[in-house]
């Protein structure tokens, strides 16, 4: 019971603006929640039946009054709405230069993999002063990734990706909670977020460590690969791309049965029915697990489904690989 905070720390760039909005609302509430009861108390005392006061000329309705107390609250709530809305859009728009980290939630742990292949469980190491974008999915039920001191939270769903971003401002350790009820050990699905200065973060990334993978097997962080070209997550993805036979159809020279995947990520894809889809993580995932659902224009629906053949973990590596092809194309 040593420390007894009444207000959470402000450790990300969102914390300040969210708290300002919060205190504004508290202030507004004090006007209504504080003054209104005061008026009521006053009326209760003044017009108590024991008080001899003037009770003649009672009023039973008044349009001007009704309009006043309709319009004023309306204006107030709309003001805070727009304020909150812009902040919200900001909180949902990750900058392009964000550091991408993959998160998998499962009953009842968090599994994180950094671009260089380093993994960790129930911990998240991040650099400060740098936007971080989490690409998250779940292996089983819905979870929710919550860092109170950053004022961010996002549900993590099975079967698709959700995205969350933030920029930490203070080095330190923060609570990491699972905020969506997910079964027996929901309240034990907690961990910590370690915000480090960039240099410390890079040193940490390069430190080898052993970690249990979501499927129960042991996987090491692969510092040896850091020297190789590109990040190990991409490399691992590239190996999968070859071993699963993708490369046979998706050839980089564009002569395969399937489309060349370079430059695909974050582009608009034309489908056979003429519509356009945005090739984000969810589209890539769908194309691999359920290729028949959306067929790229000019190609036949011949790609087999890889449902059940790639784990969430491998899926993340494949995505990292396909995205790296996108980068290569831009350069």
């Amino acid at each position: 019971m040593q420390d007894f905070p009444l207000f959470p720390e402000q450790a990300s760039t969102f914390a300040g603006p969210v708290d300002v909005l919060y205190w504004t609302l508290v202030g507004l509430s004090l006007i209504f929640g504080g003054i209104l009861p005061f008026i009521i108390l006053y009326l209760m005392v003044r017009y108590h039946r024991s008080q001899k006061v003037d009770r003649t000329n009672q009023l039973h309705s008044s349009l001007p009054l009704e309009l006043t107390w309709t319009v004023i609250p309306l204006v107030l709530v709309l003001t805070v709405f727009f304020w909150g809305a812009f902040l919200y859009i900001d909180m949902r728009t990750p900058p392009d230069d964000s550091l991408e980290i993959y998160v998998i939630g499962k009953q009842w742990m968090w599994h994180v993999q950094h671009p260089n292949g380093k993994r960790e469980n129930n911990e998240l190491h991040i650099p400060i002063g740098q936007p971080v974008k989490l690409i998250m999915t779940s292996q089983d039920v819905i979870h929710s990734f919550y860092i109170p001191d950053f004022r961010v939270k996002q549900d993590v769903l099975p079967g698709r990706y959700t995205i969350m971003w933030f920029e930490a401002t203070q080095p330190g350790e923060y609570h990491l909670f699972c905020a969506e009820y997910c079964g027996t050990e929901h309240s034990l699905m907690v961990g910590r977020v370690v915000a480090l200065r960039l240099a410390d973060y890079e040193r940490w990334l390069a430190t080898p460590g052993e970690i249990i993978l979501p499927d129960g097997s042991v996987g090491g962080a692969v510092p040896a690969l850091v020297e190789a070209i590109g990040d190990p997550m991409e490399l691992a993805g590239g190996q999968l791309f070859a071993s699963l036979g993708c490369a046979g159809c998706h050839r980089s020279d564009g002569l395969g049965i399937g489309p060349n995947l370079a430059g695909l990520y974050a582009s608009e894809v034309r489908l056979t029915d003429g519509s356009l889809v945005f090739a984000d993580e969810n589209y890539l995932r769908e194309s691999i697990l359920n290729p028949g659902a959306k067929i790229a224009a000019g190609y036949a629906n011949v790609m087999p489904s890889y449902e059940g053949q790639v784990s969430e973990d491998q899926m993340n590596q494949l995505l990292a690989y396909i995205k790296s092809l996108a980068d290569a194309n831009v350069e």
């Binding site: 949902r92 728009t93 990750p94 079967g159 698709r160 990706y161 959700t162 995205i163 974050a266 029915d273 889809v277 945005f278 090739a279 984000d280 993580e281 969810n282 589209y283 995932r285 769908e286 697990l289 359920n290 659902a293 959306k294």
Partner: protein, 113 residues
């Protein structure tokens, strides 16, 4: 007082109308199957096909509700309740589908897997 709502003598719908409505329903039924059959050969946009099918089904419903179910000659309250469900369903469909349509907005999530 509620009584005035039913004090006027109800209008009457007789067998002659029923037969006419039934004939219309049959025509619409063959129209909907026919439209489907024709669409199979024409390759028109999917949305149009759905629109036609739902439009025909709605027309049939309106006919049944108005005549078979006597809404045309029912009290105003009953008429209001007959459309109430429609309004509530509309809320549900428009808003929920709105969410699904909008989910593709980058950087939010793409279409459903």
């Amino acid at each position: 007082m509620a009584h005035h709502e039913h004090e006027h003598e109800r209008g009457h719908i007789g067998p002659a109308t029923y037969y006419k409505v039934f004939a219309a329903l049959m025509v619409l039924m063959f129209l909907t199957v026919g439209a489907w059959w024709v669409e199979g050969m024409l390759n028109i946009p999917r949305a149009l096909g759905v629109f036609i099918a739902v439009a025909i089904a709605s027309t049939k419903t309106v006919l049944i509700v108005l005549f078979f179910m006597h809404i045309k000659v029912s009290s105003r309250v009953t008429q209001l309740y007959a459309v109430a469900a429609l309004v509530a369903l509309l809320f549900m469909f428009v808003i929920t589908m709105g969410d699904y349509f909008a989910r593709g907005w980058p950087p939010e999530l793409g279409p459903l897997p």
